[in-house]
Amino acid sequence: MKRIKSMLAFALFMSVIVLSGCSNLTVLDPKGPVAEQQANLILFSIGLMLFIVVVVFVLFTVILVKYRERKSGPEYEPPEIEGNVFLEIVWTVIPIIILIALAIPTVKTIYALEEPPEATAHKEPVVIHATSVDWKWVFSYPEEDIETVNYIHIPEDRPILFKLASADSMGSFWIPSLGGQEYTMSGMMTELYLQADEPGEYRGRNSNFTGEGFTEQVFTVTAQTEEEYAEWVDEAQDAPELTQEKYNELMLKGHAEEMTFSSTHLQWVDHGMDAEYATRVRNGLPLDEYKEGNSHGSHGGHEGHDEHKDHKDDESHDSHEGHENHDEHSKSEDKGTHSESH
């Protein structure tokens, strides 16, 4: 009896924790249709699984209480029961039925998540290239011709198509409030649809271990109304252009602040096709194969844990507005020549 009491006390204790913890269970508090589908699937599976847990726990407790030696006495000699085919078939078939009940929505959801959310499928998705670099995130909006570092803005109620790649180690792109994660890999491009249903600030991060600076490899997502988003795009397009020299600095290991540029790195490199770029930059290897024809050998000395502290053009980030005010990089260059290479 002492055993059962302590078990009950434990269960009570646990439920208190659960209730107190529920307030911030991000995954079960979805802010978009993708996360919502996943949350529904999770809740459905928790329900079925709780049923199994209850059945086993009840059986377990009843059997232990009923057949403990202290109750039956030391003279009781248990019958030898070899088995029972009927019972064994029952507890083979019922789990199979439960698994089928789980497998059908699982497969449906797996396929559904490969497409834009149904309700907004008619809308043109916003395409954002998300690239993980040790230990920062670089985002490119090819259509808007914007590049940001460590933050993005997205319009609400419109599917966002993230094209994921990595410049070096394998990361995982995850915005728990908006939906599940997907790996970023070098030389490979993966695609992920997400969507926000309401304006707000959401936190995104790399969830796949990438070494020393992994914990801080985070970014913010600002979901806005279409009008606000358009405003932000306009503003961002006034930011300075991204030079390859600047971009190569981002390729070095280390953290970075939020930045905004009015051109994208896709003009030089698509990390979804090219696994070598960041390694070449870090080791001062020639980048001749790439469009600009510059060898940037001067970066050879920047290996390791470069924190960008000493870079001359670092002083004027305005992280909230997302602007970087470099007068020398005015918008005089022709952006029309940018081409995407994928």
Partner: protein, 643 residues
């Protein structure tokens, strides 16, 4: 290389460890010299080929590794208790979780189980030793040297820090230039040799050396689980061997298997690793299932319910274990068809596992349940493993896994299955078979203290982690912010971790206490056992059985006791036994030297070590020692002193 690059410096924790390692070594050497025990140590233990002694050495090594891995775990819990803690920096934290995972799986769980297999399997099938006693010693010593090589990274050269999965490109030379990763590769490689040999050895032992009458379907369940585990080892471990070798080539000789440059393919590593890694999970869980079956059956005083289903379910699990590896990276974007296939195969594993759970429950049904320490561990396994199992099914649902992956939900799940499966089994098995190893029982009262404190601590530590995962806490972060709101659950987890540590300490004290005060065994059958190991004398003679027993069912000894055929005396016959050999420990030492040389790319040293390995192999090839016969008089003399 400068000395301060060779020795790890700059951290008081590590200096403390240096001092304690040095003191322990000096203490051990002093005690051995003072009591003139060197010769005893060499002839009785270091050169032994006796499966029981090798088993004991495996278990001792595993308990030491459990301590090391446990300290790692507590350091991590200390760092994560409160937000923005400055106890460990990120590099240090990364090293600790890497060594924690690697040590617990490779150098704790497997050797613990293999140690118990070593002690029990030959006894359980009525054999006098394993098929290849010499090879068995090689297995132990390569495991031991591999483990030592991995562990010295702590003080010499620096620990690996790319996670126990060592995903590339992170673990490649470009992003992890320190020698730590080399320790991982070579330590695992050397220990892997031992595991593969164990697999072959025990497979042949079980297939060929069973007592007369023990057909396959009359083998005890633990023997069955070991047989199946061996098959998994034989097909899974070569994959690890190759994967480790390829990464070693990448790091030491400039090849391009997993590099970012020149066409390498990092994802190949993840695939190879998990093609080994998932079967590995079943290598450490199936023997645990086997042990629980034996213990539950013994202390319920009933034969196992649904013997055939228990066997077939393990066979099915073993087969499925090779078909699910992609579920470790559903988030790689492999497409709907691939993810759906691997979701379903993964879920299917729940079916045979569920069958086993219900069969255990119905073994208890109508039994006469005695709550010994071994039984308590086995009983606690059922509810805890069910929690781990159902959350495993939830993780198997790929679409949901996108949200669980890389979070504490996953951490909670695999600790629930590995601790309540494997670790509970190790503790249960240790209590259960302790009399066979040391000829006395562990103290029951202390055993129960260990049990309640550890199990409460375990649930307190890992249950909150499911919620941390759903709250978005990723695994392997070394700290978090106050705004994340993860603190209260982390505080609970740390409290649980401390309780588990206390439980472990009580267990260690129990080992000492029982050694001093526990009454010695007189019967060899302390629990009223059912299988053949309990028919052996106390203390158990080195040849195990004076007579090879006859077997009539899977509870062979139980049946014999019922029929009164367990005490029949026949005239003795001379018994053939293998000779001790110093070759295994010397060969493994050369492996160690070679591995150490490779870690630092000192090729003269690695080549010298390899030459030593080859030389010992040649020595062995020319060794025609055929063991010795124990004469009838000797047997008679020994048999009178026992039972």
């Amino acid at each position: 290389m400068k000395w301060d690059e060779f020795f790890v410096t700059g951290d008081p924790l590590i200096y403390g460890a240096d001092v304690s390692i040095a003191l322990t070594l000096i203490g051990v050497i002093f005690v051995l010299t003072y009591f003139k025990k060197w010769k005893w140590l060499w002839t009785e233990w270091l050169t032994t080929v006796d499966h029981k002694k090798l088993g004991i050495m495996y278990v001792i090594a595993a308990v030491l590794m459990l301590f090391r891995g446990g300290v790692d775990a507590l350091l991590m819990r200390a760092q994560l208790t409160v937000p923005d803690a400055g106890f460990l920096d990120s590099t240090h934290y990364n090293e600790i979780f890497t060594t924690h995972g690697t040590i617990m799986i490779i150098f704790m769980a497997m050797p613990f189980l293999i140690g118990l297999m070593n002690v029990v399997i030959p006894l359980q099938i009525g054999a006098r030793d394993v098929a290849y006693p010499f090879l068995n010693a090689v297995s132990f010593w390569t495991f031991f040297m591999g483990a030592m090589l991995f562990n010295i990274s702590f003080v010499i050269g620096g620990s690996p820090s790319a996670g126990w999965t060592s995903y590339v490109p992170l673990a490649g030379l470009e992003l992890s230039p320190s020698v730590g990763q080399n320790y991982y590769l070579l330590g695992l490689q050397i220990a892997g040799i031992g595991t593969l040999l164990t697999g072959i050895n025990f497979l042949v032992t079980i297939l060929k050396m069973r007592a007369p009458g023990m057909t396959l379907m009359k083998m005890p369940i633990f023997t069955w689980s070991t047989l199946i585990t061996c098959v998994i080892i034989i097909f899974a471990f070569p994959v690890l061997t190759v994967a480790l070798a390829l990464m070693t080539f990448d790091r030491l000789f400039g090849s391009h298997f997993f590099t970012l440059m020149d066409g390498g393919m990092p994802m190949l590593w993840a695939n190879l690793f998990w093609i080994w890694g998932h079967p590995e999970v079943y290598i450490v869980i199936l023997p645990a299932f086997g042990m629980f079956s034996e213990i539950i059956s013994t202390f319920a005083r009933k034969t196992i319910f649904g013997y055939k289903a228990m066997v077939y379910s393990m066979v099915v699990i073993a087969g499925l274990s090779f078909l699910v590896w992609v579920h470790h990276f559903f988030t790689m974007g492999a497409g709907g068809a691939v993810n759906s296939f691997f979701s379903i195969t993964t879920m299917l594993i729940a079916v045979p596992t569920g069958v086993k759970i219900f069969n255990w429950l119905f073994t208890l049904y109508k039994g006469r349940i005695r709550f010994t320490s071994a039984m308590l561990w086995s009983l606690a396994f059922i509810p805890n493993f069910v929690i781990g199992g159902v959350t495993g099914v939830m993780l198997a649902m790929a679409a949901a896994d996108y949200q669980y992956h890389n979070t504490y939900f996953l951490v909670a799940h695999f600790h629930y299955v590995l601790i309540s499966g494997t670790v509970y089994a190790c503790f249960a098995g240790l209590h259960f078979w302790y009399p066979k190893m040391f000829n006395h029982r562990l103290n029951e009262k202390l055993g129960k203290w260990t049990f309640w404190i550890f199990v409460a601590g375990f649930n307190l530590c890992f249950f909150p982690m499911y919620f941390l995962g759903l709250a978005g806490m990723p695994r392997r972060v070394y700290t978090y912010g106050a705004a994340d709101g993860w603190m209260s659950l982390n505080v609970l987890a740390t409290m649980g971790g401390i309780l588990m540590g206390i439980g472990f300490l009580i267990l260690v004290y129990n080992i000492y206490y029982s050694f001093r005060y526990s009454p010695r065994e007189t019967t060899g059958d302390p629990w009223d056992g059912r299988t053949l190991e309990w028919s052996t004398a106390a203390p158990i003679p080195f040849y195990n059985f004076a007579h090879v027993p006859e077997v009539k069912g899977h509870d062979a000894y139980w049946i014999a006791k019922k029929e009164g055929t367990d005490k029949i005396k026949k005239p003795y016959k001379p018994i053939h036994m293998p000779s001790n050999s110093g070759v295994p420990i010397i060969m493994s030492t050369f492996f160690f030297i070679s591995g150490f040389g490779m870690v630092f790319s000192w090729h003269w040293m690695s080549i010298a070590g390899l030459i030593g390995v080859l030389a010992t192999m040649v020595m062995r090839s020319f060794d025609y020692d055929k063991g010795f016969y124990v004469s009838v008089e000797e047997i008679e003399k020994l048999e009178q002193t026992t039972k």
